[in-house]
């Protein structure tokens, strides 16, 4: 074993890079705290004491809880159906039911207003039936737009079901338990932690969501930050809201970390993942299939249908097909550069771990995850204030926007890259060294090819996330630059649904297409 000081001498640049990354990741939260507790303490305290603030907090939590509850209620039966039963086409369902995760919330917001706007197709149908229209600019509209988040609860539920494994189901049955008793006494108790974890993740996403609530004009904390930031006199209000939002998000993340320990407790036993024995659905087969069909119709078919509806209507009315080429190019370029940088930076903690600096590695990872836990609007606001006060030259430059992307998505790349590097045995390089390679050559010829797939995975996941990113892009983009996300958001805000339809279509194709290429989705069970 070599000690930390030796490592520092051997790899000074690596250590320096690690320290810089950790510091940079902490910048937004430290900056906000400094303003909120230092110069602006009185104003922020006044915001927190205002009764209207409490209302906004209450509305945010209520929305998070209802959407989380819906997601869990849907995920439990879905996970069981696609995993353990003879549901027709369950491998296909397994892919389809996760896909709505790819759709950004400002697109689902577009779908909801596009449907229920006074000129929308749903409103027309309702009026013809003699019913009152549905007001999409309401908490109800936000619930609909955020219902697309259910796969965030479905994925952990499925993973937990996989871990429980068929052996325990069979054991319970052989011990005299009927299928329903086996489910209630053996399977369900072991899913509880995963379901609670799914609830928390969905709640966290709802709390952090900016796209849907801003389009539907539901004043939650995250939309509140933006609204107050737009008012010249409301900047300290925005900081107060952002600090509140950050505190709630961090609390949820900590809660989730606690749950995660429980989710994985005692699950390593069933090492061999066998496919489940197929539980016959019998007469429930068709209702179960209908359930999946309805959900898919809502979360996949409907968005496409609404986009096509507005696209066709726009074309009929002689609408020009514009606002898409430059935006798509800007989106792809920014996302590509951000993803490349993220993968390169993600190598730093992975290599630090390999070269035995556990403390610094942990610091870098924690710093990066702190940035990731913060809602996008909070990161964006902190950077805007930081740049206008201290780094005016950087405000609204490409560099600032890329920095924001890295703050938000570096942990995604780090996860993938670290998995890849840790998945390769240190013996690999040692074997190459014994075969006469220098450390650098060994790295190049042995380790690099072995970790390449992980680097690509890291690139893909950051690329996909950046393409869809809205709040930081909205606040920090250079003057004159529009991405698909900002174009969709501003056109939809101004009720130009027909003009928004084409960018939405491009976004759907990009997001869902990339998601389908994602290895986690492509993998089916044996």
């Amino acid at each position: 074993m070599s000690n930390g000081l030796d490592n520092l001498r051997q790899h000074p640049l690596l250590h320096l890079a690690g320290v810089l990354i950790a510091l940079a990741c902490l910048l937004p939260i430290v900056w906000l705290l400094w303003i909120g507790l230092g110069p602006g303490a009185d104003e922020v305290a006044a915001v927190l004491r205002r009764p209207s603030t409490l209302q906004v907090v209450w509305r945010s939590l209520w929305l998070a809880a209802v959407v989380g509850g819906f997601a869990v209620a849907v995920s439990l039966p879905l996970a069981w159906l696609v995993h353990a039963t003879d549901l027709p086409g369950r491998a296909v369902w397994r892919t389809l039911l996760v896909l709505p995760l790819a759709i950004p919330s400002y697109v689902t917001g577009f779908v909801v207003v596009g449907l229920f706007d006074a000129s929308g197709p749903a409103t027309r149908v309702l009026t013809q039936l003699g019913l009152a229209g549905f007001d999409p600019w309401s908490s109800g509209g936000a619930l609909l737009a955020l219902s697309f988040l259910y796969p965030l609860a479905l994925l952990p539920a499925q993973a937990a079901l996989q871990r429980v494994g068929p052996a325990q189901w069979e054991a319970a049955r052989s011990l005299g338990a009927t299928p329903s008793r086996a489910f209630l006494t053996v399977v369900l108790p072991q899913l509880r932690a995963a379901l609670a974890g799914g609830f928390i993740v969905v709640a966290l996403y709802v709390l952090s969501d900016f796209g849907a609530v801003s389009l539907l004009r539901v004043e939650t904390l995250s939309y509140g930050v933006y609204q107050r930031y737009r008012v010249p006199t409301g900047r300290m209000d925005a900081v107060g809201y952002a600090l509140l939002l950050a505190a709630l998000a961090v609390a949820l993340v900590l809660l989730w970390q606690l749950m995660r320990g429980r989710i994985h407790a005692g699950s390593a036993r069933d090492a061999v993942a066998r496919p489940w024995p197929v539980v016959p659905l019998g007469r429930w087969r068709w209702p179960a299939l209908a359930f999946c069909l309805v959900l898919t119709a809502w979360s996949l078919v409907l968005p496409v249908a609404v986009v096509v509806f507005w696209l066709v209507r726009g074309l009929r009315q002689g609408q020009a097909l514009d606002g898409v080429v430059a935006e798509t190019a800007a989106t792809l370029v920014y996302s590509g550069v951000a993803a490349l940088l993220a993968v390169a930076l993600a190598l730093v903690p992975a290599l630090l771990a390999r070269h035995g600096s556990p403390r610094l590695t942990r610091a870098v990872r924690m710093g990066a995850h702190a940035g990731y836990a913060l809602p996008g609007i909070v990161v964006a606001l902190a950077l805007v204030f930081f740049a206008t006060r201290w780094a005016g030259a950087l405000y609204q430059t490409a560099a600032m926007l890329l920095f924001a992307y890295l703050l938000r998505f570096l942990p995604l790349a780090m996860q993938a890259v670290t998995d890849g590097v840790e998945g390769t045995s240190p013996r690999l390089v040692e074997a190459a060294r014994c075969a006469g390679c220098s450390p650098q050559i060994a790295w190049l010829r042995v380790l690099a090819p072995a970790v390449l797939p992980a680097l690509l995975a890291g690139f893909a996941v950051v690329f996909l996330s950046t393409i869809k990113e809205l709040p930081a892009t909205l606040l920090l983009r250079p003057l004159g630059v529009e991405t698909l996300a900002t174009r969709i958001w501003s056109l939809t805000s101004d009720a130009w649904f027909a003009r928004a339809a084409l960018p939405v279509l491009v976004m759907l194709v990009l997001a869902v297409g990339l998601m389908l290429l994602h290895p986690a989705i492509r993998r089916r069970d044996p």
Binding site: A167, E170, A171, L175, G176, T185, S267, R269, D270
Partner: protein
């Protein structure tokens, strides 16, 4: 072997049982019956279908053909008239290879799950016997592998099963622990006189535990009988080799007169026969061969190799009269003359194998 004076009805019967996955046969036309209270061992290499057969008995695999009864009741007749009985109504206890303990339930709760919610007092004697008295309130993950195995056994026995199935129950234990757990398991099963079917690929385990033994090969039952019968009088070369090393020597049976034991003549001279078979090759286990000093021996042999194996010396031998024949002998080290040439003896009657 103490045969019961009046044969009791069989506890379990399999008639022409087949299990196929699509068109791939896993179990083909198996006939087998288990006597009440017997510990029956199913031996075979991995992939031979033995676990599939066990899963079919438990009710996890439907039969493609054939009929299966447990305690006199038909549980599956391959889509025939009788309805397939679901696992929970077969009263079959299963000890799974990976134990499948419920990780969210304590040891006591796991075991009383088997007793269909039996009270703790009811299952305590069983747990005491298996040495689990002081881990009742622990969670499964806090137990050693051996303890987990015993909890799995206790859980299966607590339901007083009509049939106990054990799927490679000792294969996940380290070798040091395996023997103790095996003895403890055997005692617990025999004390309750429960009919049991144990599936394994470990020959030692099979020979030691079995009242009767079945060898399975490529989905079919090759032979069923007592361990000694299968070991010394196998019906074919496969069964012979499944139970341990053996050499095969061309031989001709001699007609035996009344009162004379049957014998056969081969390169090793005249050898006493056992078993009913009167044609085929002579099967000789390594420990059935003895060596002496070469002087005056009727069958002198050349030592091709000599390997020290601790408890015995392993010799590779070729009789001088048949130099192309290679035989393996295992002899106690002190009985090996240590010379280039030795005299060869067949120590006990051997069987002819078709």
């Amino acid at each position: 072997m103490n045969e019961a004076p009046t044969p009791a009805p069989d506890a379990v019967t399999l008639e022409r049982v087949s299990v196929r996955y699509g068109r791939v046969p896993a179990v083909e036309a198996v006939d087998l019956s288990l006597r009440p209270g017997e510990l029956h061992v199913l031996l075979g290499e991995s992939g031979c279908g033995k676990t599939t057969l066990l899963r079919a008995l438990a009710g996890f695999e439907p039969l493609s053909e054939g009929r299966m009864t447990i305690a006199g009741a038909v549980v599956d007749d391959a889509g025939g008239r009788a309805r397939r009985v679901p696992p929970e109504r077969r009263n079959v206890g299963v000890v799974f290879q990976d134990y499948a303990l419920f990780p969210h339930l304590s040891v006591a709760a796991n075991v009383s799950f088997g007793g269909r919610g039996a009270r703790r007092a009811d299952v305590t004697p069983l747990l005491e016997q298996l040495g689990l008295g002081d881990v009742l309130d622990r969670m499964p993950e806090a137990l050693s592998g051996g303890q987990q195995q015993r909890v799995a056994l206790a859980r299966a026995l607590a339901q007083r099963p009509a049939l106990l199935l054990l799927d490679e129950p000792f294969s996940n234990l380290d070798p040091g622990r395996r023997l103790t757990v095996r003895r403890l398991t055997e005692a617990a099963v025999r004390d309750r006189a429960v009919t049991a079917l144990l599936v394994t690929h470990d020959v030692d385990e099979a020979l030691e535990l079995a009242d009767r033994l079945s060898v399975m090969h490529k989905g079919r039952l090759a032979q069923t009988g007592s361990p000694t019968a299968l070991y010394f009088e196998p019906v074919n070369e496969q069964v012979a080799l499944a139970l341990g090393p053996a050499d095969f020597v061309a031989a001709t049976a001699e007609a035996s007169g009344a009162g004379h034991p049957a014998s056969a003549v081969c390169a090793l001279g005249r050898v006493a026969l056992r078993g009913a078979c009167r044609s085929g090759r002579l099967m000789i286990r390594p420990e059935q061969l003895g060596v002496t000093a070469v002087d005056g021996s009727p069958t002198p042999a050349h030592v091709r190799a000599r390997r020290f194996r601790g408890a015995w010396m392993e010799l590779e031998l070729s009789p001088l009269v048949a130099p192309e024949l290679v035989l393996t002998a295992r002899v106690p080290v002190h009985l090996d003359p240590g010379t280039e040439r030795v005299g060869l003896d067949v120590l006990s009657p051997c069987a002819l194998v078709p």
